[in-house]
């Protein structure tokens, strides 16, 4: 015979477990691996990605979709709005850490590359490029750096809810490249 005490215990324990079992059964989405990513179409480049990430250096970096780039001579992501000259002097440039590198391709086209070591994910260039350019620069969470926190701290404070979960087999959200001319 089971003692009353033991019976009550089992009852209590079962009562505790039941709601969880119920919750578990109710859940809808069963896919395991989801990653955090920034939806570049929602991003408003507020600059919070730089500071909100739990990592000392944010896992958010600027990426450059070359296919969408206009290779502008006067890149509005590279140069700040009130520049005087189009040179490499600090007062005319936008990036605070000098992470955009510019390389001559052919007249009058320049290739812009992001130095990921120096990029801090502040999004200043992204804003400039989106405002006056093709928007080929945009912010992405680099999955190699991201620690996949349960709750992304950037997502928590993102003003435009641009940080979303994406399935692991599609870890990046790219912007649509412009129409290719035929």
């Amino acid at each position: 015979m089971i003692s009353t005490r033991k019976f009550l215990r089992v009852l209590f324990g079962g009562g505790l477990l039941a709601p969880f079992l119920w919750l578990i059964g109710k859940r809808k989405s069963r896919q395991a691996a989801f990653l955090w990513q920034i939806d570049p179409d929602k991003c408003i480049q507020c600059g919070k990605c730089e500071t909100a990430c739990v990592l000392g250096h944010s896992a958010v970096k600027c990426v450059h979709q070359y296919a969408a780039c206009g290779y502008c001579l006067f890149c509005s992501g590279y140069y700040q709005d009130k520049r005087i000259k189009f040179d490499t002097a600090a007062e005319n440039l936008r990036c605070p850490t000098d992470a955009i590198k510019r390389k001559y391709i052919e007249d009058p086209y320049f290739e812009y590359t992001i130095d990921e070591e120096a990029c801090i994910g502040c999004g200043k260039c992204v804003k400039g490029c989106a405002a006056f350019g093709n928007g080929s620069l945009f912010l992405q969470i680099r999955q190699g750096l991201c620690k996949q926190c349960n709750q992304c701290r950037i997502a928590e404070i993102c003003p435009s809810n641009a940080v979303v979960r994406v399935p692991a087999d599609k870890p990046y959200l790219f912007k649509r490249p412009p129409e290719v001319k035929t």
Partner: protein
């Protein structure tokens, strides 16, 4: 050692570690709060400043300084934070190990239950030990603070610093470079040193600035090692660096910089310029590619008769390009550029305006440009070092003028020329020598422009440039006469006559003179104050307009039929 001794030692060490951890923790907390504030404030200030009028050079300078400071402190703060964390981690580990060692290896100490009388045993040693620990830990934290703040700044993104590492990375821009250089930036070679540097290469027009140290061929009996037809015509001379020969050719469609293998004569690569907005009309014997290219250890620089400039790496990747103003000049633009360490000097004398440019070798940025009132000319600049500065000598059809290579300031200017100046000067020991028919034959002091001598009676060259040889200044004319004048006073010493004239400039190498004439004879000459001796002669049977280049005892010759020939001494 007995257990109590070990235990007290462990406790002592634990205290050190603990105090270290606490102090470090407090310092890092303080740093974390303050560091972010400082950085945010700094960035705001910078952004605010950037919105001001940046045409004010003072404000721009402040902006550059602030930008540099911000970048430096940003990465420094983060590096320091990471370093501090590592240190904290190590400290924690040590502390855990010490704690673990005590609890793991020693029998647990029986504590006295509360309420039991405890004998008042005050350990004065403990107090001292704690004090000592505190001091040690304090000093170690101070050491950390000092150490971390004296770490070298990260070498970030300074244009010049990056560019000097690899040519391919050079941010090509036709604009001025102004990022504040970081303290660790690699120094570009000092200009004066660059001028003085002797070389075994054949880097520019007429070899190098100073007597070339290349070895002469073992004998003057040559056989053809290889022969390559150059794809497009040009009156410039080949230059050699290590295993590559560089020269240019041009027609109306395209201007091309060629690179050939010095061993086989095979074309390694070519770089084409065909974006000139307008191709000038030039005379037949000038063409669109008269300037000789110049080359340094990393890059090749070429300019064409269309005003196009191109800089390539030794592997043929374009580093930068520029388009100079349309060269409207009778016959066509012909002056060869002069390479001076970190800058290229281009004497750009056109019909309407005459300009001397200095371009940054790394990105083609204009370091300075000087408008000169000099009448058009076809002469190339030369340079020498005097008074600790590099001085550039230019000859125009009206003036001779010298400039400071560093700043571009005009040092002196003499209206002593005339006629049409095509020949270039020579420089030695702070003296510039110049000879062009109808213009001037003589010497100037490089520092003040004093005319040391002049000789207006001698026949002078009108295409080739005269050469300095020992104490002689030798003039090779297009009529075929060779005059030797005293390099000290300009007195004519001898005159020799050849059947055919000289267009290619002679060069002095290894105690001899190599000259090429319009007959296709390659002459090896020597001279004394009395006479000129033809030591050897090799007949190529083609007109020679270009200066032959020397490379490892071989002669690289561009012929009048636009072939490139490598002549090897017979064994």
């Amino acid at each position: 050692m007995k257990n109590p001794a070990i235990r007290s030692t462990l406790r002592f060490l634990q205290k050190i570690a603990l105090i270290f951890l606490i102090l470090l923790g407090i310092h890092m907390l303080h740093d974390a709060i303050r560091g972010d504030q400082v950085l945010t404030a700094g960035l705001e200030q910078l952004e605010h400043l950037k919105q001001q009028d940046m045409s004010n050079p003072k404000l721009a300078a402040i902006a550059r300084e602030l930008d540099y400071l911000y970048r430096a402190s940003y990465f420094q703060t983060h590096d320091k934070r990471r370093f501090g964390l590592r240190l904290l981690g190590v400290g924690l580990l040590v502390f855990c190990l010490l704690l673990g060692a005590e609890r793991f290896f020693l029998p647990p100490e029986l504590s006295v239950p509360k309420g039991y009388p405890v004998s008042p045993e005050h350990d004065s040693g403990e107090l001292i030990a704690t004090t000592v620990c505190g001091v040690v830990a304090l000093f170690s934290v101070l050491a950390y603070i000092r150490r971390s703040s004296s770490r070298p700044l990260p070498d970030r993104s300074d244009t010049v610093a990056v560019a000097s590492k690899t040519a391919a990375d050079v941010p090509a821009t036709v604009f001025e470079s102004g990022r504040q250089p970081s303290p660790t930036a690699a120094k570009t070679p000092v200009l004066a040193e660059a001028v003085e540097a002797e070389t075994h290469q054949w880097p520019q027009f007429r070899g190098s600035l100073l007597p070339n140290r290349n070895a002469l061929p073992a004998n003057w009996r040559f056989r053809e090692k290889w022969k390559t037809a150059i794809a497009s015509p040009g009156y410039n001379s080949p230059v050699v660096w290590d295993g590559s020969v560089f020269l240019t050719g041009a027609d109306e469609k395209a201007r091309t910089l060629f690179c050939y293998d010095v061993q086989t004569g095979k074309e390694k690569w070519r770089v084409v310029c065909d974006k000139a907005p307008q191709v000038p009309e030039v005379s037949e014997d000038t063409g669109l590619a008269p300037p000789t290219v110049c080359v340094d250890a990393e890059r090749v620089y070429a300019i064409f008769g269309t005003g196009e400039m191109v800089c390539c790496s030794h592997t043929g990747e374009t580093v930068w390009r520029k388009q100079l103003p349309f060269p409207d000049i009778t016959y066509g633009y012909a002056s060869s550029p002069l390479l001076l360490g970190d800058r290229i000097i281009v004497q750009y004398d056109l019909n309407e305006a005459q300009t001397l440019y200095a371009f940054n070798v790394l990105n083609g940025a204009t370091l300075w440009e000087k408008k000169r009132d000099a009448a058009p000319s076809w002469s190339s600049p030369v340079a020498c070092v005097a008074d600790g500065k590099a001085i550039i000598f230019t000859a125009g059809c009206r003036t001779a003028e010298a400039y400071d290579a560093q700043t571009g300031d005009s040092l002196w200017r003499l209206e002593c020329m005339g006629g049409e100046v095509a020949a270039s000067g020579a420089a030695r020991d702070g003296i510039f020598y110049f000879s062009n028919t109808g213009a001037f034959t003589g010497a100037f002091s490089s520092t003040d422009g004093k005319i040391l001598f002049k000789n207006e009676d001698t026949p002078s060259p009108d295409v080739s440039s005269a050469v300095l040889y020992n104490d002689l200044y030798l003039l090779f004319t297009s009529g075929g006469s060779v005059l030797g004048i005293d390099a000290k006073d300009g007195k004519e010493l001898f005159e020799e006559n050849f059947d055919n004239g000289f267009y290619a400039s002679p060069v002095a190498v290894g105690g001899k003179i190599i000259a090429a004439n319009l007959d296709g004879d390659l002459l090896l000459l020597s001279a004394t104050r009395e006479k000129l001796t033809v030591e050897a002669k090799y007949a190529l049977k083609t007109k020679l307009f270009a200066v032959p280049a020397l490379s490892q005892g071989n002669l690289i010759v561009r012929t009048g039929e636009n072939d490139l020939i490598c002549l090897e001494a017979e064994p």
